[in-house]
Symmetry: C2
């Protein structure tokens, strides 16, 4: 068994996007085994357990990931993750992977693949709501699939907004009101909000939105009226209904499971698509265990590792 200590260095984001796209393609074709993630509540946060088997890469395993909003005050990341990989022939654990940074990257990659297939334009003004690790990961991954002309960013903390702009100095980058940032071609929302931030009337026709922030029951970032106007794609229907952007509108009876336009996997294999150039599309991302397996597969070929005795 090997422990992979730090696997963010030097991973090629285009390769990561490709691997995650391939995993979504398998998902669209029904070629993966992946029960919905399981949540356990802790006193100051929660942790999620995400098992899956991805036959096309002969890889199986489980990601364990927490969300603790108070961690930054303790000098720790809000989200930390560990992935355990099993040999598919014997079930023996063969790798334990520090997957904190990989989690950011594979979520960024899903956003990039959604943008690649659903954006109505190949050259975009990118609106970013939130300034944390996932906001950065989305921009980095999307930049591999679309040409970013300029970035508009909104965040609560002016210092964080400045740092975000510094991180992406290669693009014209401006901050502004949330309404102004929403006036873009591709909007990415990455906040932990529990009430809608983005109003329906701020979004113009032809926009694609990656709704990333909502990943637990009670979280939502978008005005439900926007969902009703848009084609809403999800990564996994069961997870999206339970904990994605649509979870609150569904629990309130405003949105129905049958209103989902399709999965990203179905989009990747061409079974579903953006219907009209001037329509609004939304990708509701909750994060799939197969994304974690796809990036683990790359990380295990490149990462620094320590040998551990097992069994």
């Amino acid at each position: 068994m090997q422990y992979f200590t730090d696997t963010d260095m030097g991973l090629d984001l285009s390769l990561v996007n490709l691997a995650v796209e391939s995993a979504f393609s398998d998902h669209g074709k029904g070629l993966v085994l992946m029960p919905p993630k399981v949540y356990v509540t802790l006193p100051e946060g929660d942790f999620r357990t995400m098992p899956a088997y991805l036959p096309s890469l002969s890889i199986a395993g489980v990601k364990i990931v927490n969300v603790h909003p108070g961690n930054p005050q303790k000098g720790l990341p809000t989200v930390m993750a560990l992935t355990v990989i099993l040999d598919i022939s014997t079930g023996e654990p063969v790798a334990v992977i520090n997957a904190t940074r990989l989690t950011d990257m594979r979520t960024g990659a899903a956003g990039a693949i959604a943008a690649k297939y659903l954006s109505s334009k190949k050259e975009i003004t990118l609106g970013v709501v939130g300034t944390g690790r996932q906001a950065e990961a989305q921009v980095a991954a999307i930049s591999r699939e679309l040409k970013i002309r300029d970035i508009k960013v909104w965040g609560c903390n002016p210092e964080h907004v400045r740092k975000f702009a510094d991180r992406f100095m290669e693009y014209p980058c401006s901050s502004g009101s949330l309404e102004r940032v929403c006036d873009c071609d591709l909007l990415v929302t990455t906040t932990p909000s529990r009430s809608p931030l983005v109003q329906a009337e701020w979004i113009h026709e032809g926009t694609h939105i990656n709704a990333i922030g909502a990943d637990a029951p009670g979280k939502e970032e978008l005005d439900p009226a926007l969902l009703k106007r848009a084609q809403v794609f999800v990564d996994d229907p069961a997870q999206a209904v339970h904990s994605g952007e649509i979870n609150v509108p569904i629990s309130q009876g405003i949105f129905r499971k049958s209103d989902i336009a399709g999965t990203l996997g179905e989009v990747v294999i061409g079974r579903k698509k953006r219907e009209r150039k001037e329509g609004i599309t939304i990708f509701d991302s909750t994060g799939l265990a197969i994304q974690d397996l796809a990036i683990a597969h790359i990380a295990m070929q490149q990462g620094k590792k320590i040998d551990l005795p097992f069994p």
Copy 2:
């Protein structure tokens, strides 16, 4: 983060039984968070993911465990396990534990606690069906709670039966037909059978049975007629219905969820009990994630460990 390499050495089985009993007590009182385990099928077996939070020990984590019946031919155990422990305040992974042997021991401990509370006698003739690791673990753990007068063992492979008897030379130990072995005070069944081995007419009044082997859909060791005659206790109703001894009879409509007499946790806290000395009781064990946390808590105080960098 620390990796605990090998935690079977020197654990005091009486302490393990006590810790597991305490976990069942918490379970009976509704003081644990534990979703049902999740199964993923692999080409030659499966793996199960078992998350939980046990507030009384301030411990949370996930056990990942496989079952691959063909492994012994490859020189590997059928069952191997790894447990990841998280800090409950921050969600940070703090330990990875080689839990293969611990899995045997905590399952043995559950059987011992069931025997302690449900056996109609304190001095017993112990019948053992199967000769593998779990058969040994049951005898070792039960010996801490009841006085074993003698052991009767049945197995398919005479060589394994001989080895089993050698392992427990401190007791008078005899082998015999399955029917003869079933003539005992406390019967433990530990096979991977997919059809009933133990016939109802072989079991006399007053017997307690630990039904350990059935841990996946389709597995069963006991004649369903025996279930109808007995008080059937389970570790967890949802898991038992899905994958315990009762799963096949329930799927065939022979047994109903409402026929369950109670949980082992309810027995430990005194809410449920053996009704009649001359009745038959059955404990249907599927294995709970809180058992794994309870034994991990002990192992982390005693086991050999390696420091690993995280995050």
